[in-house]
């Protein structure tokens, strides 16, 4: 059986988008993928989020980054809608990871205090309790766990996150997850 021809030397083609914002993104780990996008739109075509909401078009967000629309991209909730399911990455012929690019965008937005409320609340919860569901962990659930032959206690640590919070979220304004 003949194997599929490799993509050839083109596979490593990188472009040099010259907007300042695309360079800012490309300088962060994961952001370098921005240099590979040819704007074909396969990602949007394969994305389940795009399939069910017209406002979300991953190719278009990448285009805005390439065009240097920094303010518009960082102020938008759209980069936070990516499920990081990476189905588009299986499809993208240029090997672009949209999930990685959007993580970089979110990271930059977060440094400037622009985090959607639900993300901010959840991060604060985790950094307070050490895990996500302390509030939901009731006597009833302990009974269920006993009934299932499990240890009723779940044994999460609440101390380490205090260090994480102090180190990464309270060192000056830049790192903090602030109110919008």
């Amino acid at each position: 059986m003949m194997s599929e021809p490799e993509h050839g030397p083109e596979k490593d083609v990188e472009y040099h988008p010259n907007s300042r914002f695309s360079q800012e993104i490309a300088a962060e780990p994961g952001g370098e993928y921005i240099r590979k996008c040819i704007q074909c739109g396969l990602c949007t075509a394969s994305c389940m989020v795009a399939n069910y909401t017209d406002k979300y078009r991953p190719r278009r967000i990448i285009q805005k980054i390439l065009l240097g629309e920094r303010e518009q991209v960082l102020a938008s909730e759209l980069p936070w809608l990516c499920m990081t399911c990476r189905l588009c990455e299986e499809r993208c012929q240029e090997g672009v990871s949209l999930a990685e690019i959007f993580h970089v965008v979110r990271d930059i937005a977060a440094r400037e205090g622009r985090v959607p409320k639900v993300f901010k609340d959840t991060v604060n919860q985790v950094l307070k309790d050490g895990w996500l569901l302390k509030d939901a962990f009731s006597d009833f659930i302990q009974d269920d766990r006993t009934d299932l032959g499990l240890n009723p206690e779940v044994n999460f640590d609440g101390e380490f996150v205090k260090k994480v919070k102090k180190r990464y979220f309270e060192q000056g304004d830049k790192e903090e997850v602030k109110d919008e």
Partner: protein
């Protein structure tokens, strides 16, 4: 005997304890020893991950370092957790600056990440550590005439270069196990698409539409149940079936993989926490026959 330290993640112990219980009972039956990881924390998936890469590395890094104190590889049963732990392990193993930074925070409590342990998702333990042959030999009550759809979970199988579980475009582990247990594995449109779970935080309506898309595609194949290998997928594919206009009779039972395998291995359904499933899988188990 192969041994693992189990990292349950935040969600399974509270929202899907029957998964945790069935993992333990089934692996014990197949000769895999499990110890619970004590004093763990959230791996940081999705939320911390989205706002601060270094904080995320510290949180997942601590879990990896804790596993080193047990001197065992980690068994992760949730797609989000296994994905995060593997991602951060990869980052720490390839970025010494990040590793140093994480180790400085860990040093306070005497922990250190050296990289000596591996992270495995449950599917890998079935496939790589136990193996199809051993599972086949352990089947005492094979299913018959039951049609099941496998849902793998995006973060379980992608990105392949990091997670290395199964072919991300055409995954086969759950399907093989369905067949080994005597049931019929059924393909359906959009098998590798997301369940919509990660969208719940930002837009529940869209999340439900994505989940229902999958349920419709599965229903079109006339199956008796859905078999999952991720906490969030299992919960999402169950709860979307309780939305507006959803009919009782048409609900498709959702089962975690060990809950499905258990009865075929001769384990009592009650020990697998079947009674805790919101959609009764009795039609799946009805066919489990004595050999």
């Amino acid at each position: 005997m192969k041994e693992f330290v189990l990292y349950t993640g935040c969600t399974a112990p509270v929202r899907l304890p029957q998964y945790e219980a069935s993992v333990k009972v089934v692996l014990d039956k197949l000769g895999v020893k499990i110890v619970d990881m004590k004093g763990a924390n959230c791996c940081g998936a999705q939320y911390v991950e989205s706002v601060n890469r270094h904080a995320f590395a510290a949180m997942s890094g601590r879990i990896l370092a804790l596993a080193e104190t047990y001197d065992r590889d980690i068994l992760a049963i949730c797609g989000a957790c296994s994905g995060s732990l593997k991602w951060i392990k990869h980052s720490l193993d390839n970025d010494w600056k990040l590793k140093d930074e994480v180790n400085r925070i860990l040093a306070d409590e005497g922990l250190e990440y050296t990289g000596k342990i591996q992270v495995k998702h449950l599917l890998q333990v079935f496939h790589e550590d136990i193996g199809y042959d051993a599972i086949k030999e352990a089947i005492v009550k094979p299913y018959s005439a039951v049609r099941l759809a496998a849902h793998y979970g995006c973060h379980v199988t992608r990105p392949y270069d990091i997670v290395r579980v199964d072919d991300p475009e055409n995954p086969t582990i759950i399907d093989h196990l369905i067949e080994i247990a005597g049931a019929t594995a059924v393909d359906y449109t959009g098998k590798t698409r997301c369940c919509g779970g990660p969208m719940l935080a930002m837009d529940q309506e869209v999340a439900t539409k994505i989940g229902m898309d999958k349920i419709r595609n599965i229903r079109a194949e006339n199956v008796d149940g859905i078999v999952t290998a991720c906490v969030f997928c299992d919960i999402q594919l169950t709860q979307v079936q309780f939305g507006e206009g959803a009919q009782d009779e048409s609900r498709i039972p959702v089962l975690t993989l060990p809950q499905f395998l258990g009865p075929a291995l001769g384990i009592e359904p009650s020990r697998l926490g079947i009674g805790y499933n919101k959609i009764s899988p009795s039609r799946v188990f009805a066919s489990v026959v004595e050999v």
